[in-house]
């Protein structure tokens, strides 16, 4: 039985300040254990990502960072993101060109993402069944897997509920 949910969808009872704090503490701890430097810029970028708790664009981060750090430029952000990606502290969502905090940096994993089209919420799964099925299917083609990008678009539970309760949105085409 795989423990599939790394980052669930935010519930209404979600205490966001606490959630950010936990993520930051985990990052600090992990970096010091690994002997790498979570510098002020890197820390701030990670925090900005967690505060939003949804996929964030690099240039949005840049705008926010500039408010407190005049010298920030694209490389500033991309370097920070590269570091955070390398340390497993954030994931990149390919289909959105955006970045989200990783709910479980302490064991390396690829992640499978559920992305809500209506509210942009993202949940992260880390499901062995999925990985193994894909690896098995790939193996039938003689293919050796190194990396998987799995991004599932659809409607999250909260938005499904809204739809049912009459507040149905036009299905854009």
């Amino acid at each position: 039985m795989s423990d599939p949910i790394v980052t669930p969808f935010r519930s209404n009872t979600h205490n966001h300040r606490r959630c950010v704090d936990t993520a930051m503490a985990r990052a600090e701890e992990r970096c010091s254990r690994r002997g790498v430097r979570l510098t002020p810029i890197r820390r701030r970028v990670l925090e900005l990502i967690w505060r939003r708790h949804e996929p964030v664009k690099a240039y949005d981060l840049l705008d926010q960072l500039r408010e407190e750090h005049r010298a920030a430029a694209p490389p500033t952000i991309y370097r920070a993101l590269d570091f955070l990606l390398g340390e497993g502290l954030v994931h990149r969502i390919e289909s959105l060109n955006a970045y989200v905090g990783c709910g479980d940096p302490n064991h390396p994993h690829l992640g499978q993402f559920l992305i809500c089209e209506r509210c942009n919420a993202v949940a992260e799964m880390d499901d062995d069944d999925i990985q193994q099925l894909l690896a098995r299917k790939a193996a039938t083609q003689g293919f050796q897997v190194n990396w998987q990008t799995i991004e599932i678009n659809g409607v999250c539970p909260a938005c499904v509920a809204e739809g049912i309760n009459g507040k149905r949105e036009r299905k854009t085409e």
Copy 2:
């Protein structure tokens, strides 16, 4: 039993001219059946993609198209790609910002891609087991699936064989 392989890896016996011709004929036939116009530009872009038989970048296509069509500009390519994507004649590989021909435009599908890191070859699968497992896992989160992006990076059979035969490449980092 799903019929998983839409486009297999190119074998050495692969007759590429014939493969391109088949794809083009299928596209012509499909477009006329659907009453949409496979104009010269669209046809040419599709053909350029199939000739390469690997993921192609939009601006590479643009450079090639410009050689024979001076007026070509970014919108020229992106409009053609939009059309081809919409008709299911090509797929976009999110993790590469690149486009590949679809091996089976005649039934709509999402596709799962095996991408070789060494030679850039791509195989397309369309596997129900995978889709259904993902839909099932998503459902346990109360999530309704509309679309799946599945891109698997690794090493294709031909490159695995090369590796075994001593021509092993340095694992970059």
